[in-house]
């Protein structure tokens, strides 16, 4: 009886490890969306003539976005603040591309900034909010990203007031990947829940048990948010 349970437990762990490895591989492959990259470059080329400071800002954001994305595919764990920096760079580029149709907010409880966080959990959700929620709307809308603590859980939320989910569109690679990794990382104790936002749009909420992941990162002496 005890041995059977042990074997089951070992099997389950091996299965978890396999799922995590698969999800991470897919994450690598889905890294940088070419359409986003080339359209951003086209925008920069135009802004060089019409709005040089804007071109400068967009290029800096793209640089930070690329650096952040590439670093994270190698580093196992990053921190909340690193993820939010990446999200900010991405959203700033998108806001410029969409010509004022997009606004965004990013909020983080100060004591959670240096909490370790597996890479690219928030970013794919923000990309979904833009691509499926707000880009299709001529009037655009808003994305709000927040990081907070609820009891022993780290809560990451991405809320948009866009088009909402098309019940006939299968969940994309990005979302499935986030769900698989949350499941594997938290050994089933975390969750990814999607809700309809009122009056329109989608609210995605990731909950991860605090302190379950890698050890708390050292707080850098001169870090900034």
């Amino acid at each position: 009886m005890g041995r059977a349970r042990l074997r089951e437990e070992l099997l389950r762990r091996a299965e978890d490890a396999r799922h995590l490895a698969e999800a991470e591989l897919k994450l690598l492959q889905a890294q940088i969306e070419p359409h986003f990259l080339f359209n951003t470059l086209s925008n920069i080329l135009q802004l060089i003539h019409t709005d040089p400071p804007g071109a400068h800002r967009m290029l800096m954001n793209l640089t930070n976005y690329l650096r952040g994305s590439l670093r994270r595919t190698r580093a196992g764990a990053t921190t909340v603040v690193e993820e939010l920096d990446l999200v900010r760079a991405y959203l700033d580029i998108q806001a410029m591309r969409m010509g004022g149709r997009l606004s965004y907010r990013i909020a983080c409880a100060p004591d959670l900034r240096y909490t370790p966080l597996p890479p690219l959990l928030v970013q794919p959700l923000v990309e979904n909010a833009i691509r499926h929620g707000l880009e299709p709307l001529p009037a655009g809308g808003e994305v709000a990203v927040s990081v907070s603590r609820e009891g022993d859980a780290l809560v990451l939320e991405v809320i948009d007031n866009g088009l909402g989910i098309d019940p006939h569109r299968p969940p994309g690679v990005g979302l499935s990947n986030v769900r698989d990794r949350v499941e594997a990382i938290s050994q089933g104790r975390g969750s990814v829940v999607l809700r309809a936002n009122a009056p329109t749009g989608v609210c995605v909420r990731i909950s991860l048990p605090l302190g379950s992941g890698p050890r708390q990162a050292e707080r850098p002496a001169e870090a900034q948010v």
Binding site: F38, N39, L45, P170, R195
Partner: protein, 250 residues
């Protein structure tokens, strides 16, 4: 002869502005009659101005450039503009469809302008077959239900059907079992069955539909009845005789 006219369509305003500058610089007599940021506006402007040529971004939210081209149905020349379209580029090359890559290169634009100048008076080539094929590929018709809306206190939770292991009929409602969670859906099982992908969801009993990938094993009881054991949880689902043929090879 009236000057040639063009309409520029891209959802990003910076990019239509940039294309306008580049075009006007090397095609002085060209008159840009409008810029549109979405497909519906593009069609409207086409109907109003009858441009000779439309520069059309392929990937736009809502109605794609391919859809716009389909609806234009050869009423004007079309140059597709795209940042990156893995499948489209091959098809464009193959069918000799004119296209530009973003960021637009000077030399490439020059060649396009030359070609347009030479052919603008001729009727536009028929793009319908390549456009039709690509439009289908870029936006496959998603016929099946992929998301459920379930009430959770005052919230509406969006649940991917991929997450549901078992649908069980309960009076007028349906219970959706997802791991340790159980949700109530206001759609009767019969209605759900018609909307779910039959390759992924099987009816196994008058009152049950299982997700095939959620099945751990199927056992035969002493009385000869088949029983499904799910991967998650310890729920046993009986298979009625009428559906037992589904598991013959399992």
């Amino acid at each position: 002869m009236s000057p040639p006219t063009a309409l520029l369509v891209d959802d990003e305003p910076q990019l239509t502005a940039s294309l306008r500058q580049a075009l006007v610089a090397r095609w002085h007599e060209l008159e840009v009659v409008g810029e549109a940021q979405d497909g519906a506006t593009a069609l409207e402007l086409c109907a109003r101005h009858h441009p000779d040529v439309v520069f059309l971004d392929v990937q736009m939210p809502g109605m794609s450039g391919l859809e716009v081209a389909r609806q234009l149905a050869g009423s004007c020349h079309v140059v597709f503009v795209t940042a990156y379209e893995q499948y489209a580029l091959q098809a464009f090359e193959h069918a000799a469809v004119d296209y530009l890559l973003k960021p637009v290169e000077e030399s490439r634009l020059a060649a396009t302008v030359e070609r347009l100048r030479a052919h603008l008076s001729a009727p536009p080539p028929d793009l319908s077959s390549v456009v039709e094929a690509l439009a289908r590929r870029l936006r496959p018709t998603a016929a099946h239900l992929e998301w459920l809306q379930v009430q959770d206190r005052q919230d509406v939770v969006l649940l991917p059907v991929e997450d549901v292991d078992l649908f069980q009929a309960a009076d007028k409602y349906t219970l959706a079992l997802s791991g340790a969670n159980e949700w109530v859906i206001r759609t009767p099982l019969k209605e759900l069955e018609a909307q779910l992908d039959p390759a992924r969801f099987w009816r196994v009993h008058r009152n049950a539909i299982v997700r095939v990938a959620a099945v751990a094993r199927v056992r035969r009881t002493l009385s000869g009845q088949l029983q499904i054991q799910l991967r998650r949880g310890d729920r046993i689902v009986p298979v009625s005789r009428a559906y037992s043929h589904l598991f013959k090879t399992m």
